[in-house]
């Protein structure tokens, strides 16, 4: 069975006829060819597939695309400004070497933005606990924590 879905992604309307069982992340990656959103574990544990849905961070591997009907979605491709200027969180990751292989990075950046939206001035302890939904195997988290702290300061000012 197929179903018609439509939503807004990165400010643009998107619609398609898809199999009912299509996951949101499959729709994003394979139908829309927005490959910045990654699949690390397909069980909602690693967080590489995190996107923004109606302003909140969600894991797109754990939802059917039908559940996003009419939603306003932002993927990593929509985080920087249209002229390519990085969001303060992206810039902080770059400045503080908060990424290595880059695979967890899109989900990590989107979760981190959500974190700062909820905790504008987070302590290290808050950052570490709030990152529990995102796994990174390269950085040991040290520089990710530093980057989020620095970005929070920029985002507040």
């Amino acid at each position: 069975m197929t179903v018609k879905v439509s939503m807004t992604i990165n400010g643009k309307p998107a619609s398609a006829e898809v199999e009912e069982r299509t996951l949101l992340v499959t729709f994003i990656r394979e139908h829309l060819r927005l490959t910045g959103t990654h699949v690390g574990c397909d069980t909602a544990q690693c967080g590489a597939c995190t996107i923004q849905m109606n302003g909140r961070a969600v894991k797109s591997c754990n939802m059917l695309v039908m559940q996003a009907e009419g939603a306003d979605l932002v993927t990593i491709e929509g985080i920087a400004k249209p002229d390519g200027t990085l969001h303060p969180m992206q810039e902080a990751f770059r400045q503080h070497h908060g990424l290595q292989c880059g695979f967890c990075t899109p989900g990590m950046v989107i979760s981190a933005i959500d974190l700062v939206n909820n905790f504008p001035d987070p302590s290290e302890e808050v950052i570490r606990h709030q990152l529990d939904g995102n796994l990174c195997r390269c950085t040991g988290y040290h520089n990710i924590v530093k980057a989020i702290k620095a970005a929070a300061q920029t985002m507040r000012s």
Binding site: G36, H38, C101, T105, E124, L135
Partner: protein, 787 residues
């Protein structure tokens, strides 16, 4: 070095923009026209005979293009997956090397073993149809633990190895060691497991293979750490294809940690299948497939003894290890618990005689191979747990006992085959003691006690051997491959430079670090330099990235090629400047006549090389493009000292790493920001082994119990602290950059430091890794430990 000064600077990474904006290009991002999707039928049993396989229901399933089994591969004469290192046993016999089929040939030997390939129009259809392949199994008893594999009556995996033993191998002078033990004032003995780990790079393995009938060529996109090695093994040993007709591309790769070195069955089968169906075949692992079929790491059972004289000087070491190789030999499986393990048992110390015997066995588990550190973490764990335990037993300070035994004169020949070129172990130990504020430990311990908590401190002083070399020595020890690296420097007419390296970056940041080296050597801006890697159609050759070899071996190959560019540039400049070649010096990005202000900029010389009007054509070819192959004369030997401090709640068994301090000596450092990042990541992988991670197979059924991220606990941000890290620079003496390598150090030193701290806090001799809350709580209950 020149007009530029990039080496030693924390230059921000040029890779980052694409990764931060979702513009990376990983294998699963590659979509080819008319591509199909593959799913593997995997064994649900640890050990079974296959009576029959029925494909018909799967073939009738919607969207299915083809179903292949081991019979199809056999009919096509597809070979066995090769092992790249021949170990010769204690009796001078070659190791047992049973076949490693790409799809099962009548028998499966671990849960997740490859049985059939289903290809369909979509990934969902392929997975649906894989469920419909009917395999009739005759289930056999299984053995999963190394310690049980040689028991009488244990199930036998391979006819070629009736005692499940691949080899018994030894290194060192047993008679001298036994004699030294007899006269020792003190002997410390430990028995432990080095727990089995599952690497879990966040990018799952992936393949997209395509074949062109037009020119009978193949292109394979694959998440690999070494595309040329992948191509060589696949074409020459398994598929029998002409090497020049196969292009292997390892684009952006999302972490490897060893697990993406090897030639896997999936890579071969998809490449074979693309020709059968004349359409591209794409496969991306689900996470459960990563758990079941990526090569695992560690899994040793060890008895280790250290003999000391009355002053705490080490007089001998004796080690017996049983290593679990899993069901089949993965690409480099056999050298990890031997060549990369026993040779490291001298550590940083002058122990005069060492004997190590290793028995490697087959079990009904996933193949085991190199995982970050590969043999060296296991060796460091043996040495540093023994040393710390001996210090406690003899009531000598843990730092002091190490100082009494440090190697201080270099070069130093160890009793286990290695020749350390240089080191300064006192310097890293002294620095870590200061940075970790060891002086303040007693008051912190008293404070913990007041709060009902136990506090402990532990050291680890590791040695590492990086950039395995030289090729001829490795060959005499059984290596079936070279261990050099290749580099090419292509100077364009305008003086811009493309550098092609056989090293592969999957997080290490070579595009930045290598560009720093090239720009400094040529005295040109970094923006004028690009680094190209990961594509056999672009890079001349490469052995790839593993064993912390990239800067020491790959970087040196580039430097050698740069030297040739500069040498040729001097000849061109001498002609342009009408001077003798011997009078030309290259400095600050220009070729100058010594002692004059006459000079030609680098770009002027490169232009002359490509527009050779005023040019010595009778003596010199046009163009400025040089390559080099560099085969190191020795390993490099990074070393460091780590101090870990833990606080334990005896009521819950929870271990909190209060502080972790690392001081490493990586020789010369090109980019300190990247080096620190490598240390942080390595530390957490090591702490993960010691604190949370454990691969567990059920000993009865052989089922992999820890086959998801719910059951296998990777360290999360809240499990680990921020780190204090420092460095000392004792430059390597045998490569031009003075570099040693930094990729694995953290994972090598940190498990021993953490377990030394935990055993100190609890006041017990041994706790098994991982030190989960449950395990620690049980120890507290058993020994009635309270703060």
């Amino acid at each position: 070095m020149g007009a530029t000064n990039y080496i030693g600077q924390a230059v921000k990474r040029r890779e980052d923009y694409r990764f931060l904006t979702g513009a990376g290009n990983y294998t699963d991002d590659v979509t080819l026209p008319r591509q199909t999707h593959a799913a593997f039928v995997r064994s649900p049993h640890a050990h079974a005979k296959i009576r029959s396989i029925r494909k018909d229901r799967a073939l009738a399933s919607p969207g299915v293009v083809a179903v292949f089994t081991g019979d199809d591969l056999a009919a096509s004469k597809v070979g066995s997956l090769p092992c790249g290192w021949l170990i010769t046993d204690v009796k001078g016999q070659p190791m047992k090397e049973p076949p490693h089929p790409c799809l099962a040939q009548g028998k499966v030997r671990y849960v997740g073993d490859h049985v059939a390939l289903v290809i369909a129009e979509t990934a969902g259809q392929a997975k649906d149809a894989a469920e419909l392949v009917e395999v009739d199994y005759e289930v056999l008893p299984a053995v999963v633990n190394a310690a049980d594999a040689r028991n009488k009556g244990a199930p036998v995996l391979h006819e070629a190895a009736p005692d499940n033993t691949c080899y018994v191998w030894a290194l060192g002078d047993k008679a001298a060691v036994d004699k030294a033990f007899q006269g020792a004032a003190h002997v410390t003995t430990l028995e432990f497991c080095n727990n089995r780990l599952i690497p879990n790079a966040i990018e799952p393995r992936a393949v997209n293979a395509t074949y062109s009938r037009a020119d009978e060529s193949y292109t394979l996109y694959v998440a690999s750490q070494n595309p040329h090695v992948e191509r060589l093994l696949m074409t020459a040993f398994v598929l029998g294809l002409p090497e020049h007709k196969v292009r292997v591309v390892a684009p952006d790769v999302g972490g490897g940690f060893g697990s993406k070195i090897y030639l896997y069955a999936e890579d071969v089968v998809c490449t074979w299948a693309t020709r059968q169906i004349n359409r591209p075949v794409k496969w991306t692992a689900e996470r459960i497939e990563s758990f079941q079929s990526d090569a695992h790491g560690r899994d040793h059972v060890t008895r280790a003894e250290l003999a000391l004289d009355k002053d705490g000087k080490f007089v001998a070491m004796r080690v017996a290890t049983t290593a679990n190789l899993g069901a089949y030999l993965s690409t480099f499986a056999t050298c990890i618990p031997t060549i990369l393990y026993a040779t490291l048992l001298a550590g940083q110390y002058t122990t005069p005689v060492i004997f190590c015997e290793v028995t490697s066995v087959f079990t009904n588990t996933s193949p085991v191979d190199a995982y970050r550190g590969a043999g060296r973490p296991e060796a460091t764990y043996v040495v540093e747990r023994l040393v710390e335990t001996a210090a406690r037993e003899m009531k000598i300070d843990a730092a002091e006992i190490r100082r009494r035994n440090f190697i201080r004169n270099f070069p130093y020949q160890t009793p286990v085959a290695l020749m350390y070129d240089t080191g300064n172990y006192e310097a890293t130990l002294g620095e870590v003691i200061t940075l970790a504020d060891v002086a303040g430990y007693a008051s912190r311990k008293a404070d913990s006690k007041k709060r009902g908590k136990l506090r402990g401190i532990g050291y680890a002083c590791y040695i590492e051997a990086c950039g395995i070399a030289p090729s001829n020595v490795a060959g005499s020890l059984g290596a079936r491959a070279g261990l050099f690296e290749a580099g090419e420097v292509r100077v364009h007419p305008t003086g811009k430079v493309s550098v092609f390296t056989g090293s592969h970056s999957h997080g290490q940041g070579h595009e930045t670090t290598f560009a720093q080296v090239v720009a400094d050597r040529l005295g040109i801006p970094m923006d004028d330099v690009e680094i190209v890697h990961g594509d056999t159609s672009k890079v001349l050759f490469g052995m790839g990235t593993y064993g912390s070899r990239s800067i020491a071996v790959g970087g040196t190959a580039i430097v050698r090629a740069l030297d040739k560019v500069i040498a040729k540039g001097k000849k061109i400049a001498a002609h342009l400047l009408e001077a003798a070649e011997a009078d030309i010096e290259f400095k600050d990005g220009a070729f100058a006549v010594k002692g004059t202000d006459k000079k030609k900029a680098f770009a002027e010389v490169s232009l002359a090389a490509y527009v050779p009007h005023n040019y010595p054509l009778d003596k010199l070819e046009p163009g400025l493009n040089e390559n080099a192959f560099y085969d190191p004369t020795n390993f490099t030997f990074p070393a460091g000292s780590y101090v870990c401090e833990v606080e334990i709640d005896p009521d819950t068994g929870q271990v909190r790493i209060d502080r972790f301090t690392a001081v490493d000596d990586f020789g010369k450092i090109i980019n300190p920001m990247i080096v620190e990042g490598q240390v942080h990541g390595g530390l957490v992988q090591g702490l993960g082994q010691a604190l949370t991670e454990n691969c567990y197979y059920d000993p009865e059924s052989g089922q992999l119990i820890t086959a998801s991220l719910s059951d296998y606990s990777l360290p999360r941000a809240s499990d680990v602290p921020s780190f204090k890290v420092g460095t000392k620079e004792t430059p390597c003496t045998h490569n031009p950059l003075g570099v040693k390598g930094c990729g694995e150090a953290g994972a090598i030193g940190s498990p021993a430091a953490l377990m030394n701290a935990i055993t100190d806090a609890l006041g017990v001799k041994e706790v098994e890794m991982p030190a989960t809350s449950q395990r620690i709580w049980r120890v507290c209950q058993e020994f009635k430990i309270a703060a």
